[in-house]
C-alpha cells in the first residue's frame, strides 16, 4: 500500500471512529438495573442486596458504580448531571448540598416518592427540610447516623476509664490516655471533610445554639462562643490530645484496635463495620458515647443524613422515581440496614449493631438535641472554605483569632452570594 493510500485510509478510519463517538446514543439493550453512582466502594454488597429487594418490588435493581474520593466524586457528578446521559440515581449530601444542586435545575423532583413514603409510615416527615428546595423535594434519605466517640473497651478497662458524662470527665479521660502514651482523639485535616466532623461535634458540645445559628448565617464567628471554643480546641491540640493533622482517617479504626489512639469521633452505625474489619469485635470489643456538653446544658448529637437524588436528565426517570417510591419499604431497607449494622432512616427497621441501637435509643428516649453535620449545614462553598481554614488551624494552631476573622469574612461574602442566587 502506498504511503498516501495508507494515510488516507487511516485518516478515514479515525474520522469515522470520532463521528461514531459523537453520534447520538445508539439503541441499547434494555437493562433492568438503574445506574447508581456513589462514593463508598465498600458498600457495594449492601447496594446490591438492597437492589435485589428493590427489584422484587419494582423490577428495577441497582447497578452501583463508585468513585471513592469524595472531592473527585462531587466534580464528576456535577459534570455528569450536565450531560444528556447522566446516571439514574446519585448518592448525595442532604441540606444545603441538595439545595446547591437543585438550584442548578439538574435534579428531578421527588415529591410523589416522599409523599408515598410518609403515607406508608416509612419516613419521618421532619426530614423533609433536608431535601427541600423552592418548595419541592429532591431526594430521599440513603443513610442516617449519629456522630459519637468510639473507644476500645479492652484499653479503657486496662486504664480503668469509664465513658465520661461531663466535659471535665472527658478531659480527664484524654489526660489519662495521654499519660499512658496513647493519643486520645483521632482527627485529621486530610481530605478536608473530616475537619467538618470534629468541628461539628465540638461546636455542638460547646454551644449548640451558637452552632445552629452560625450554620444558618445568623450568628458570627467572632462571637464569644466561637472565641472560647477555639481556645479550648487550641489547648487540646497543644496538650497533644489530637493525632497529627496529616493522619489518615482511614487508618483510625486500625489505630484504635492497636491502641495508638484512644477515641475515634465517627458515626454510628456504619463506622462499626470498619471497626469490625480492623479486628475489634462488635460484641464488646468497642463501645461509644455521645460527647458530653462543655457547659453542662444537655446532650447534643451531630447527625449525618446522606440522600439519593435523581438527575433530571435520567433516561429512565419514571423507573428511578418508582424505585425511590419503594426505597424506604422495610423489605428493601432491612438488607441495606443489616449490611451497615444500621443507618436506615426508616425508624421501623431495627439497627442490628447493639452499640448503634443503644445510641439510637438514647437519642430518642433522652430527647438528645440532634444537629446536622456542618458539611451539609451551610452553603457548600462556605463549608469548604471554613473547613480549609480550620484544617490550617489544626496544622498550626497559633492564631485562633485570625482564623475566626477569616471565617467571618468568608461567611459574610458567601451568605450574601447564597441569598442572592437562591432568592
Amino acid at each position: 500500500m502506498r504511503r498516501r493510500s495508507f494515510l488516507t485510509a487511516a485518516g478515514l478510519m479515525g474520522l469515522s471512529a470520532v463521528l461514531a463517538g459523537c453520534s447520538p446514543n445508539q439503541p441499547q439493550q434494555v437493562s433492568r438495573s438503574l445506574s447508581f453512582f456513589n462514593d463508598a466502594a465498600s458498600w457495594e454488597p449492601g447496594y446490591l442486596r438492597a437492589g435485589k429487594a428493590l427489584a422484587a418490588r419494582t423490577g428495577w435493581s441497582l447497578d452501583p458504580q463508585t468513585i471513592p474520593n469524595a472531592t473527585s466524586y462531587e466534580q464528576v457528578m456535577r459534570s455528569l448531571l450536565e450531560t444528556r446521559n447522566p446516571p439514574d440515581l446519585v448518592k448525595w449530601g442532604s441540606g444545603y448540598r441538595t439545595q446547591d444542586l437543585a438550584r442548578t435545575g439538574t435534579l428531578a423532583t421527588l415529591d410523589g416518592a416522599w409523599k408515598t413514603s410518609v403515607a406508608n409510615g416509612w419516613l419521618d416527615d421532619a426530614l423533609r427540610r433536608e431535601f427541600t428546595y423552592d418548595g419541592h423535594v429532591y431526594g430521599l434519605p440513603l443513610i442516617q447516623g449519629f456522630y459519637v466517640m468510639f473507644y476500645n473497651t479492652a484499653l479503657w478497662a486496662e486504664l480503668e476509664l469509664e465513658p465520661p458524662t461531663t466535659w471535665d470527665e472527658f478531659m480527664g479521660v484524654c489526660e489519662t490516655l495521654k499519660r499512658a502514651g496513647v493519643t486520645p482523639i483521632g482527627t485529621t485535616q486530610v481530605n478536608i471533610w473530616p475537619v467538618a466532623n470534629w468541628f461539628s461535634m465540638l461546636a455542638a458540645a460547646f454551644d449548640p445554639d451558637w452552632y445552629q445559628a452560625a450554620c444558618t448565617g445568623e450568628a458570627s464567628f467572632l462571637d464569644a462562643a466561637p472565641r472560647d471554643m477555639m481556645k479550648l480546641w487550641q489547648e487540646m491540640i497543644d496538650r497533644g490530645y489530637h493525632t497529627s493533622s496529616d493522619a489518615l482517617s482511614d487508618d483510625f479504626p486500625a489505630m484504635l484496635q492497636q491502641r495508638r489512639i484512644g477515641m475515634q469521633p465517627t458515626p454510628v452505625s456504619w463506622s462499626t463495620q470498619s471497626l469490625e474489619l480492623a479486628g475489634l469485635s462488635g460484641d464488646g470489643g468497642y463501645d461509644a458515647f455521645i460527647l458530653p456538653s462543655v457547659h453542662g446544658q444537655g446532650l447534643s448529637v451531630v447527625t449525618e443524613v446522606a440522600g439519593l437524588v435523581v438527575p433530571a436528565g435520567s433516561t429512565r426517570l419514571d423507573a428511578a422515581r418508582e424505585a425511590m417510591s419503594n426505597w424506604l419499604a422495610p423489605e428493601v431497607q432491612q438488607p441495606w440496614s443489616d449490611f451497615l449494622n444500621g443507618s436506615s432512616a426508616n425508624q421501623e427497621v431495627p439497627w442490628s449493631d447493639p452499640v448503634s441501637r443503644r445510641i439510637q435509643k438514647q437519642v430518642r428516649d433522652e430527647q438528645v438535641r440532634v444537629l446536622n453535620r456542618y458539611w451539609e449545614n451551610s452553603p457548600p462553598p462556605l463549608v469548604v472554605g471554613t473547613t480549609q481554614d480550620l484544617g490550617g488551624f489544626m496544622a498550626s494552631p497559633t492564631d485562633p483569632r485570625g482564623v475566626l476573622e477569616s471565617l467571618q469574612r468568608r461567611a459574610e461574602t458567601e451568605w450574601s452570594y447564597w441569598r442572592e442566587v437562591t432568592s
Binding site: T71, Q388, F393, S396
Partner: protein, 315 residues
C-alpha cells in the same frame, strides 16, 4: 566565527534566496510544487484542531473571566473577578508558591541532572546509579505523591528514620508548615523529574567530541575546570531543553500537590493550577476560576516567551 561558517556552509549567506530554493527543489526532480489549495487543505485539519481545542477555549475562558460566579445566567462583572483574586491572600500565596515551584523545578533538575550525568558517565557502576535515578521518571505523579506521603507524614518514614538515628530533634511536621511543605513538595517533584534531566544530559555528553576533551587534556586542563570550561559550554542546547521542560513542569504542577496535600493545610501549598481547580470545580466559581486561568496563562506565556527569546537570541 569559523565554527558558525562551517555549520552553515560556505558562502550560503551570499546566495540569493531564489537560487537557494531551486537547489532544494532540485533534489526532487520532476515534482512540481503543490498548489496553494492543496497546501491549505493539508494545513487545515491541524489549524482547525488547534483553533477548536486550544484557541477557542482560551478565548471563552478570557470572556468568562469578565462575568461573575453565577452558574446560571452570569452577569458581566468587568475586572471584578481579577480584583477579588489579586487581593485574596490565598491566591497571592498561591502565586508565591508558583514562583517557588518555578525556581525549584528548574534549579534542582538542571543542577542534579547535570551532576549525576557527569559523575556517572564515565564510571563502570554508573549505569546502576543512573537506573536508580531514572526509574522514578516512569512513575505517575499520583504514585509519587503516595510514596512521598509515606515518607513525609508526621508518623512517616523520614521522621522514623531521624528518630531511629537518634536525631529526633530534627523530626518535623514536613507537610504542615509553610513554606517547608511547599519546599518538600518541590523536592518530591524533583525526585521524579531529575530522571529525564539525567537522560538528556547523558545524550548531550555523548555528543561532546572527544577531540575537544583530548585537546584540553593535552593543554593540561583537567577535572572540574575541564568540565566547566570545555564540556559544559557544549551542553548548552541540552541545558536549554532541560530548562524548557522544567519550566513547563513547574508551572503546570498539579497532580503531585493535589494527591499529597489537596493544596492544604489551609490552602498553604496551592499553586495557581491548584487554585484554578479549586475555584472552578470544588467551589463552583467559574468566573474566579477563569480569571486565575488567565493569570496563569499570562505567567506561563511571559516566562516561556522570555526564556525562548533569550535562547533564540543567544544561539
Amino acid at each position: 566565527m569559523t565554527a558558525t561558517t562551517t555549520r552553515r556552509g560556505p558562502g550560503r549567506q551570499d546566495l540569493p534566496r531564489q537560487p537557494a530554493r531551486r537547489t532544494r527543489l532540485a533534489s526532487h526532480p520532476g515534482r512540481a510544487p503543490a498548489p496553494l489549495t492543496t497546501r491549505i487543505a493539508f494545513l487545515a485539519p491541524a489549524a482547525v484542531l488547534v483553533m477548536v481545542l486550544s484557541l477557542a477555549p482560551f478565548v471563552m475562558t478570557v470572556w468568562r473571566s469578565f462575568f461573575d460566579d453565577s452558574l446560571v445566567d452570569p452577569h458581566f462583572n468587568g475586572w471584578g473577578s481579577y480584583a477579588r483574586i489579586i487581593t485574596d491572600p490565598v491566591i497571592v500565596r498561591s502565586l508565591v508558591n508558583t514562583f517557588f515551584w518555578l525556581i525549584g523545578t528548574v534549579a534542582i533538575p538542571v543542577g542534579l541532572g547535570l551532576a549525576i550525568a557527569a559523575l556517572t558517565n564515565s564510571v563502570s557502576w554508573g549505569k546502576y546509579a543512573r537506573l536508580a535515578i531514572v526509574m522514578p521518571y516512569a512513575l505517575s505523579g499520583t504514585a509519587v505523591a503516595v510514596i512521598w506521603n509515606f515518607i513525609l507524614r508526621d508518623d512517616g518514614a523520614l521522621n522514623g528514620l531521624l528518630e531511629g538515628l537518634g536525631l529526633g530533634s530534627l523530626a518535623h511536621a514536613w507537610l504542615l508548615e509553610w513554606p517547608a511543605n511547599t519546599i518538600m513538595l518541590i523536592v518530591a517533584n524533583s525526585w521524579q523529574a531529575t530522571g529525564v534531566a539525567v537522560i538528556l544530559y547523558l545524550v548531550g555528553l555523548q555528543g561532546v567530541p572527544r577531540e575537544t576533551i583530548e585537546a584540553a587534556a593535552l593543554d593540561g586542563v583537567a577535572g572540574v575546570r575541564r568540565f566547566f570550561y570545555i564540556v559544559f559550554p557544549q551542553l548548552r542546547a541540552t541545558t536549554a531543553v532541560v530548562m524548557g521542560i522544567s519550566l513547563a513542569n513547574g508551572l503546570k504542577s498539579f497532580d503531585l500537590i493535589w494527591v499529597l496535600t489537596n493544596g492544604g493545610p489551609g490552602r498553604a501549598t496551592e499553586t495557581l493550577a491548584v487554585s484554578m481547580y479549586w475555584q472552578s470545580f470544588v467551589l463552583q466559581r467559574p468566573g474566579s476560576g477563569a480569571a486565575i486561568a488567565v493569570i496563569l496563562t499570562v505567567v506561563v506565556v511571559a516566562v516561556s516567551v522570555g526564556y525562548l527569546r533569550r535562547q533564540l537570541r543567544t544561539s
